[in-house]
Symmetry: D2
Subunit: 349 residues, 4 copies
Amino acid sequence: MRVGVVGAGYWGPNLARNFAVNPDWELAVICDLDAERAQQVADRVGGVPISTSLDEVLADPSIDAVAVATPARTHHPIVMAALAAGKHVTVEKPLADEGSRGAEMVETARANGLVLMADHTYCYTPAVLKIRELIAAGELGDILFVDSVRINLGLIQPDVDVFWDLAPHDLSIIDFVLPGGLDAATVSAHGADPLNTGKSCVGYLTMPLTGGAIAHIHVNWLSPTKIRQMVIGGTKRTLVWDDLNPQQRLSVYDRGVDLAEQFKATTSDARAATISYRLGDTWSPALPEKEALSNMTAEFASAIREKRQARTDGASGLRVLSILEAARGSLAIAGAPYPVHNAHEMALS
Amino acid sequence: MRVGVVGAGYWGPNLARNFAVNPDWELAVICDLDAERAQQVADRVGGVPISTSLDEVLADPSIDAVAVATPARTHHPIVMAALAAGKHVTVEKPLADEGSRGAEMVETARANGLVLMADHTYCYTPAVLKIRELIAAGELGDILFVDSVRINLGLIQPDVDVFWDLAPHDLSIIDFVLPGGLDAATVSAHGADPLNTGKSCVGYLTMPLTGGAIAHIHVNWLSPTKIRQMVIGGTKRTLVWDDLNPQQRLSVYDRGVDLAEQFKATTSDARAATISYRLGDTWSPALPEKEALSNMTAEFASAIREKRQARTDGASGLRVLSILEAARGSLAIAGAPYPVHNAHEMALS
Amino acid sequence: MRVGVVGAGYWGPNLARNFAVNPDWELAVICDLDAERAQQVADRVGGVPISTSLDEVLADPSIDAVAVATPARTHHPIVMAALAAGKHVTVEKPLADEGSRGAEMVETARANGLVLMADHTYCYTPAVLKIRELIAAGELGDILFVDSVRINLGLIQPDVDVFWDLAPHDLSIIDFVLPGGLDAATVSAHGADPLNTGKSCVGYLTMPLTGGAIAHIHVNWLSPTKIRQMVIGGTKRTLVWDDLNPQQRLSVYDRGVDLAEQFKATTSDARAATISYRLGDTWSPALPEKEALSNMTAEFASAIREKRQARTDGASGLRVLSILEAARGSLAIAGAPYPVHNAHEMALS
Amino acid sequence: MRVGVVGAGYWGPNLARNFAVNPDWELAVICDLDAERAQQVADRVGGVPISTSLDEVLADPSIDAVAVATPARTHHPIVMAALAAGKHVTVEKPLADEGSRGAEMVETARANGLVLMADHTYCYTPAVLKIRELIAAGELGDILFVDSVRINLGLIQPDVDVFWDLAPHDLSIIDFVLPGGLDAATVSAHGADPLNTGKSCVGYLTMPLTGGAIAHIHVNWLSPTKIRQMVIGGTKRTLVWDDLNPQQRLSVYDRGVDLAEQFKATTSDARAATISYRLGDTWSPALPEKEALSNMTAEFASAIREKRQARTDGASGLRVLSILEAARGSLAIAGAPYPVHNAHEMALS
């Protein structure tokens, strides 16, 4: 299958490099309005053709798919055009800049029988694939809480706040590893702009999950230390993912609170007495060394070939987008909970 | 000056041990309803008298002060009785179980010209004293955000949730180190009870501060790993306090975002271009080895002698209490912001 | 059984406290030349008798055993007198200040049918007990190397160098966990005294072990950072003990080098090709919270009652001592290997 | 100036990439016996010419210099040929496989007025450059000890042992940062080959330095954990370099032992009383983000242009080599100290 990379900015070169070496794919073209930038990317992967015209790329019947790595506000027109031209599409996060546009993209892909994949790259890292596998196998039991921290001294973005810049990573990962996806009904978002930059530079997202569980995300552009840590607590075990510790990225703790059976039948005062603690072993699974984008490009090919949804399909991209939109709504009402519109509602809106 | 310790449970023995060795104080009596428990504490400090009667202790004119380490719901009656008997008081956190009661205690102490001190022990650790000193000296510049994490596998308490159990530490520390104290006008509290214990076991508190800053606290009884970390971001420098790293508890990062002067005069799009980063040195101040309670008992004596408010006075205890109450209010409305009543309002309520 | 603690300096109070609470023992007396010091220790454990006369203590027929925590140069006369008086003995490290004296102590205890125990306290920590258990169960396979680091800003001792101050810990632990004990035939010791204090402040010990394995110890009084880490490499797995990481003291790595079977039959050049790597999981066993001295006092009682050698018997103390002596010999010849005299040779010397 | 890269194996591509982008240099040719391998390297830097003939490269008068990244045993013939052809040379570590050959290379370069540079890449990292600068400025005072650990699960090399594989890094760094270079008169080397591979897989090097100081290096192919740490203790401050901690690579501790003046005049027993401890602040200097090889290629150009020795000149390469040779000698006598021949002696041998 032949693929074109659309957008030769920050992420495009990584896509190009991975498509170039993947035996499932032939890298057909690098497309960017800026010919020089496109040429630089093309040179580094052994000299594929370039184009400055998206129309030209989409008109080429030999091209099966496009990978879109352009600014978020251009995702909708580019992807809609690609889908209209019969191309399969993988697109950077966030899926679109508005939920209704994202919903239209998902709907169109489905109607046209094309794969629309969200390039949630983190989901294809060995660590996240292992987390998903462990949860699916019941190793953690029922999920009690998810706490994610992604903080660093970060470039203050001209067009997006810290939520739209960083939280899509956490949201897409949580959506990927939870058995039913990230099904939050409401979101509370608290942001701060203490430097008066016109947008949140520090942000917190809180999402109640079904069954009393909770997910919480802390994103921050102003932290001098870099932390990328996610804790996923379960009834059986708790997992800690420390992405900056290459020697022990994942730790599974066989520690936690055990509730005796009678607990559920008694009053809450009596309950305390029936709680006990497990202080068991810790286990850190070995992870293969595999680049995430390599897994992503392979999954894109498999989904097309097997005529199925990708593991990170347009719908997952839409769930992430819908939460970001709800967060925007919550911010406008001082952090009060704001309902998350689901894809169907968005399609109707 | 002679002091009696009231309550011989978890904390009382530590108070007794510190008062016993402090040259400012003579430890006069250990008071507890349980004579055996009181005797055990008395034995370990060289055999001071015990009493099972608070009235007896308060009636003793040779006793100048009492240190109250009983359950929170008993603070109000015990402290009010002590103040009525003309004793100076230091009392465990939280000040009381309800804001209005706390306000009455503060008001009474003031009216009677007595010292009412909140035993916010953490504030007297070398680390927190140094943080306060650094901020007061302007080393961090204006405060932009405070992010505090206090998580651990914790005993689920029979009578309080995770907010009332753990957050008083963070709140009292933040109140102590911020130049104007913790002046939050509203609080948002998000809690989760995924084990169905009848109370929050995972909790998040968010408090907008003046000038666009934000304070956030994460408390959690279900985490298998123990984290006690506070990040305080300022316009000049950012401080990280990692209380579990004895080799480097405090780190002051000369890193951050610099805004060029014209920034404030331009539109927000142009602003991005005028932001630059400082990536300067990190500095970790040496801290003296001194037990916090030793500092606390010395401060209690000094405040009495100098007829001044203690550094952690009743008013600070009341601010902490008022935020916990507001958090309770926020929890009841799904995490929407809830106003913090100040001490004056409480006194009137 | 009744025990007397001889020596009320740094370590004696810990012994007293543990014997006092152990149901196997009745703490009979605290003995020290300095009556005031003895009294302080006695007070803290509920007021046992004191004595300033060792003879008096040894003459008391109701006393079954003594625990000796006096300076190393006094171990020999005190222990010999105790053994002559028919008392069982546990004695601080090092067993004696000279190997021949240690050998005489071991020999006398054996002849008199008494327990002579080396108080190698570290061996009774939950971590070291677990290491011994794992190695004994074959979890690590054959031992390939042991590397121990014990460095810290330490008080420069008036009478001993850094080897005699710190290395007994590492040596006794290695002796305890290796299936056959620490059977080094030679020792190389490299020391440095860069501050011209008259004794080594930085030291390295190297001991070839049977089968081509090696043990190495780094002790250092001049390091500003504190490290207490031991790595034990085996043919099957490798264990890392980081004593300053309470959240993960032991880590067992299922990583290593695998040699194909034909390896042993081929030339060394061909061998390289047949080596492969295992990059398996890491596992951190949970450890009980138990004070080491509590385990030690229990073992002392059991050994006496069961009329057997203690797990850390006099012979183990003698092995440690013989290596320290050999190290002294190696230092005198600029670090060249120096033979380790075994206990039998010592007894004859 | 035009440079050719000789050797397109592991390191050559990095050299090529850095010479290609350095404005001081024009990358003239990639030379390797394996044309395909050379072409791959050439392609990745924009298509420079390749050659399979060293003679051809050396015969090209337009080429000013060569960078040699071939196996160690080929360094001598290639570098001698290059020097004979009037080319400046930078060569991978170790300089040669025997000291006498290295000495000949250094001598020839000097005689021909050419730059012979040892590519001790680590010396050009921002961390090592900063260490050198701090020591030169007297920030650490006199050096008391250097302890370096470089351990990891490593490929067992077919032709070299762990000393020749890893220790050149540590030796070249120590040589670079110590004001007088690494002037060890003797070396003790202890190695172990517990897997019976025919060469040391675990190794320790000890080098007494002038003034009672000591340097020690631990290299290990069998460690499941990766440690790259160097501690440099001084009379004023101590520096810790943890190369695997990107957030705080260098820490300078203002902690240590202070000796009162009278110390030196008194007996060693009295001395103990006059020692005191400094427990001052810790400071972590910010480091620029700069690739080491970029600094190296710039230094190579500057040295040629300014007709001076490079900062890591042939003589430094020879000092490293002479220590490796002495280590080989020490290994043959069970770790006893072995004299280090200096360059002059080597030239005569």
